[in-house]
C-alpha cells in the first residue's frame, strides 16, 4: 500500500544522502521524494512517497526515526492530509492543436507558462490523479518533455470550533 511520509530533517549537507542511502541499503522503495527548507532555515521538510506492507512501512518509519539528522517522522497516510504535485508539460502543438491544448489546460486550471510556435509549456498543480489525467489528455498531441516535482503533503489542521474561540478570547485578552 502507498504511504506518504513527511520528514522534518536538519538542513545540512549529507542529510538527503543519509535518507536515500537508508532506502537503497535496506531495499525499501522510493516512489518520489521532494525536499526544501521551511520557515526555519535550519530545518527542511522532506516528503517521501513509498509503498510496502505494514511490516515494511513500520521498519521504514522506525529506521527514518533512527537517523540522527531526522527530527520528526509522520506517516501522513494515517492522518487527514492534503497532497499536491506540480508538473511541467511541454507539448507539441500543430496549428490545429493549439486551441485544444489550451482547452485542456483550462479544464484542469493549468497555465501556459511558455510558448513557441510549435510548443506550449503547461504548468499544472494538483493531486496525482488530476496531474495524470491532464497528462493523459495531452498525450495524443505529443508530449515533448515532462517534469514532475513528486508529491509534497501536509497534515490538515484539526478544527474544533470551541478551541478556536477559546484561542481568540485569549488573544483578545492579551
Amino acid at each position: 500500500m502507498e504511504h506518504i511520509i513527511s520528514l522534518m530533517v536538519e538542513n545540512k549537507f549529507g542529510v538527503l544522502s543519509r535518507v536515500a542511502g537508508l532506502f537503497s541499503g535496506r531495499g525499501f522503495n522510493i516512489d518520489s521524494l521532494s525536499v526544501a527548507p521551511t520557515v526555519d532555515p535550519s530545518v527542511s521538510m522532506m516528503t517521501i512517497v513509498t509503498h510496502g506492507d505494514d511490516r515494511i512501512i513500520e521498519q521504514i518509519t522506525k529506521q527514518l526515526n533512527k537517523v540522527i539528522d531526522v527530527i520528526k517522522v509522520v506517516d501522513l497516510t494515517e492522518h487527514r492530509h492534503v497532497d499536491r504535485e506540480t508538473a511541467l508539460v511541454k507539448v507539441h502543438t500543430r496549428a490545429e492543436d493549439r486551441a485544444e491544448a489550451l482547452r485542456i489546460s483550462d479544464i484542469f486550471r493549468a497555465r501556459v507558462i511558455d510558448s513557441s510556435p510549435t510548443t506550449y509549456t503547461i504548468e499544472v498543480t494538483g493531486d496525482t490523479e488530476k496531474v495524470e489525467a491532464m497528462i493523459n489528455l495531452l498525450r495524443p498531441l505529443g508530449l515533448k518533455e515532462l517534469v514532475r516535482t513528486g508529491r509534497i503533503a501536509i497534515g490538515r489542521e484539526e478544527f474544533r470550533a470551541g478551541v478556536q474561540q477559546e484561542k481568540r478570547k485569549i488573544e483578545q485578552a492579551t
Binding site: 542511502g21 511490516r55 521498519q59 522506525k62 529506521q63 526515526n65 533512527k66 540522527i68
Partner: protein, 583 residues
C-alpha cells in the same frame, strides 16, 4: 588560541581518553606533531589501520568506554571500513578520526583523498566532516556522545588538514543536545507489567539474552530475573558472559551451533523473553518455524530491532538495565517458591534433552581435538580470562566449550563475522587491562589476516596469548563443503602457512607447539605463566567438525548432531598428511 590539532587532542582528554590506536600519514602530521610532546595520551602505533579499529573495538568491548583510533586520509581511511562495519553490526562504541585533504582540495581527486564520509555513511551511527576549526570541539563532544549513548556504535570524524592547522579559542561544551537524537531508556510501565504477567503465567519460558545485556551492564539484573522466576537462560554469541555459563539455569549458546537441549528448549518454549538480542538469522534458523508456540517479549533500546525479523507480542523499547530493574521490582515477592515447583517439569524436560545429547566430542589419544584445547583453556583460566576469537570453527567451539562467567570477557565478531578480528581486539583489551590474562583463540587461516600486529604486541609489551587451532584449513568452509558440497574442498585447504613457532621467534616472541593431546596442558600452562606475548601452535585434527549444526534454512530443532555414520562415504584423510606441519 589553539590549533585544530591541539583542540582535537585536548577534547580527547576531556572525554577521558587515555589510549589512541592508529597510524600516521601526510594530512595528520600536525596532530602527530602535537602528540609528540603529549604526556597524558598514549598512542599505540599499529601495522595496519584495520587492526587499529579492531583494537579500539576490543578496548571498548572490554571496558565499556569508547575506543579511539586515529588514521590518515585516503588508504588510511578506507582501511578502517571493515572495522567500522564490524563495530556497527555489533553495536560497539568507537570514535574514529580520519585525516582529510585540505578543504580547498576536497573533491579534486587530490593525493590520498577518499570520500570517507560518503563511504562510511552506511556503516557508522553518525559521521562528521569538520569544515571549520570553530566547530571542532563541539564535534568531538557530539561524536563521543552519539557513540556511547543509546544503542552504541561507531562514529567517524573526518578532519581536513587545514582545519587541524587553523586556530581557534578552545571551549569544550559541558553537554550537547541533538534534537533528532533522543534514545529511550525507560521502558513503558504498562508493557513491563504485561511482560511480568506473561512471565508468571508461562509454563515453559526461556530468557534469550544478547549483546544488549553486555552493553547495558545488566548482567546482575538478568541473573536476578532468571533466579526470581526460575527461567532458563540462553545466550547469543554476543551475549555470552551476560549470564554465568556454570549457573544451573544456563543453557549456553543457541542457534546454528547451539547445544541440542538449548535449541530444543527454545523451539518448544511457550514464552520467549528476548533481552538485548535481535533475532539474527544465525539464531532463529528458518524464521517461519521459530518458536511456533511461543509468545514473544522483546526488550531492546533500538526500536528498529523490534519486529524487524519476527512478530513480537510485547515490545518494550528501553535500556535493558532500566527495563529489567522495573520488571524485577514487579516480580519480586510474586510466588518465588510456587514458581520453583511450577517450573520443575520444564526444567526436568530440558535436563532430559541434555542427557539425550550432551554437548560433547570424541576425544582421541593420537590427535589433539580442538574442543579439548578450549576446555583446557577454560579450566586453566578458571573462566576469568578475557578471550577473543576470530571467526569460524574455533569461534563456535570457544562459544560452546569455554565457560564464560563475567560480561566483557568475550570479544568476537558476531554480526559481520570478520576473520582477523580476534588478535587485534585482544591487543586492545590487553592495553586496557595490562595485568589480566588475555587469550586470543584463532584459526591458522584467520590469524594470518592480521598477524602483522605481532610487532605491535611486541613493541608495547602487551602479553597477549595467541592460541592457534591449526587445522591447515579454513575449517568452517571445509566443514560446509564436506556436509553440503560432496567433500569437494575447493580453496579451503591452507598449504604453505608459516611455521608459527619460528614466526613468533622472528618477531622476538616466544612460540610453542603441541601436536599430541598430552602436550596441550603443559604447553598452555607454560604460555599462560609467561609475562610476554606467546604464540601457541596447536596442531589439531583437521577434519573435526563443529556440531550440533543447524543447516542454513532449516528450523533450529532440525540439527545435525554428528558426522554421518561410517557406511556413508567419508572424505579421504590421506591427503592431509602432506600438509601436516613438522611436529
Amino acid at each position: 588560541m589553539l590549533t585544530g590539532a591541539e583542540i582535537f587532542l585536548e577534547s580527547l582528554k576531556r572525554e577521558g581518553v587515555k589510549t589512541v590506536f592508529g597510524l600516521p600519514g601526510g594530512v595528520v602530521l600536525k596532530i602527530f606533531d602535537v602528540l609528540y610532546s603529549e604526556k597524558e595520551l598514549e598512542f599505540i602505533l599499529v601495522r595496519h589501520e584495520q587492526a587499529a579499529i579492531h583494537m579500539a573495538e576490543g578496548y571498548a568491548r572490554a571496558t565499556g568506554r569508547a575506543g579511539v583510533a586515529l588514521v590518515t586520509s585516503g588508504p588510511g581511511a578506507t582501511n578502517t571500513v571493515t572495522g567500522l562495519v564490524n563495530a556497527w553490526m555489533d553495536s560497539c562504541p568507537i570514535v574514529v578520526i580520519t585525516g582529510q585533504v585540505s578543504t580547498s582540495m576536497i573533491g579534486n581527486d587530490a593525493f590520498q583523498e577518499a570520500d570517507i564520509v560518503g563511504i562510511s555513511r552506511s556503516c557508522t551511527k553518525y559521521n562528521f566532516l569538520v569544515k571549520d576549526v570553530a566547530d571542532l570541539a563541539r564535534t568531538i563532544k557530539e561524536a563521543f556522545y552519539i557513540a556511547t549513548t543509546g544503542r552504541p556504535g561507531p562514529v567517524l570524524v573526518d578532519l581536513p588538514k587545514d582545519v587541524s592547522m587553523a586556530k581557534a579559542d578552545f571551549v569544550y561544551p559541558e553537554s550537547v543536545y541533538i534534537r533528532g537524537y533522543n534514545p529511550t531508556y525507560k521502558g513503558n510501565r504498562w508493557q513491563i507489567k504485561q511482560a511480568a504477567e506473561a512471565i508468571l503465567k508461562a509454563k515453559k519460558p526461556i530468557l534469550y539474552i544478547g549483546g544488549g545485556v553486555i552493553n547495558s551492564d545488566a548482567a546482575d539484573e538478568v541473573r536476578e530475573l532468571a533466579e526470581l522466576t526460575q527461567v532458563p537462560v540462553t545466550m547469543t554469541l554476543m551475549g555470552l558472559g551476560g549470564f554465568p555459563g556454570t549457573h544451573p539455569l544456563s543453557l549456553g549458546m543457541l542457534g546454528m551451533h547451539g547445544a541440542y537441549a538449548t535449541n530444543m528448549a527454545v523451539h518448544n518454549c511457550d514464552l520467549l523473553i528476548a533481552v538485548g538480542s535481535r533475532f539474527d538469522d544465525r539464531v532463529t534458523g528458518k524464521i517461519d518455524a521459530f518458536v511456533p508456540n511461543a509468545k514473544i517479549i522483546h526488550v531492546d533500546i533500538d526500536p528498529t530491532s523490534i519486529r524487524k525479523n519476527i512478530h513480537v507480542d510485547i515490545p518494550i523499547v528501553g535500556d535493558v538495565k532500566h527495563v529489567l530493574k522495573d520488571l524485577n521490582e514487579l516480580l519480586r515477592g510474586r510466588g518465588n517458591g510456587d514458581l520453583k515447583d511450577a517450573r520443575k517439569p520444564w526444567l526436568d524436560q530440558i535436563d532430559e534433552w541434555k542427557r539425550e545429547h550432551p554437548l560433547a566430542y570424541k576425544s582421541s589419544d593420537k590427535m589433539i581435538k580442538p574442543q579439548q584445547v578450549i576446555e583446557k583453556v577454560s579450566e586453566l583460566t578458571l573462566g576469568k580470562a578475557i578471550v577473543a576469537t576470530d571467526v569460524g570453527q574455533h569461534q563456535m567451539w570457544t562459544a560452546q566449550f569455554y565457560k564464560f562467567l563475567q560480561p566483557r570477557t568475550f570479544l568476537n565478531s558476531g554480526g559481520l563475522g570478520t576473520m582477523g578480528y580476534g588478535f587485534p581486539a585482544a591487543i586492545g583489551a590487553q592495553k586496557a587491562f595490562p595485568d589480566q590474562l588475555v587469550v586470543a583463540i584463532v584459526g591458522d587461516g584467520s590469524f594470518q589476516m592480521n598477524l602483522q600486529e605481532l610487532s605491535t604486541a611486541a613493541a608495547y609489551k602487551l602479553p597477549v596469548k595467541v592460541v592457534i587451532l591449526n587445522n591447515r584449513h579454513h575449517g568452517m568452509v571445509r566443514q560446509w563443503q564436506q556436509s553440503f558440497y560432496g567433500g569437494r574442498y575447493s580453496a579451503s585447504r591452507l598449504d604453505h602457512s608459516p611455521d608459527f613457532v619460528k614466526l613468533a621467534e622472528a618477531y622476538g616472541l616466544k612460540g610453542l607447539r603441541a601436536s599430541r593431546p598430552d602436550e596441550v596442558e603443559p604447553v598452555l600452562r607454560e604460555a599462560f605463566e609467561d609475562r610476554q606475548p606467546v604464540i601457541v601452535d596447536m596442531i589439531v585434527d583437521p577434519y573435526e567438525n563443529c556440531y550440533p549444526m543447524v543447516p542454513a534454512g532449516a528450523a533450529i530443532n532440525e540439527m545435525i548432531l554428528g558426522d554421518p555414520s561410517p557406511e556413508q562415504p567419508q572424505p579421504s584423510r590421506e591427503s592431509d598428511k602432506e600438509s601436516a606441519l613438522p611436529a
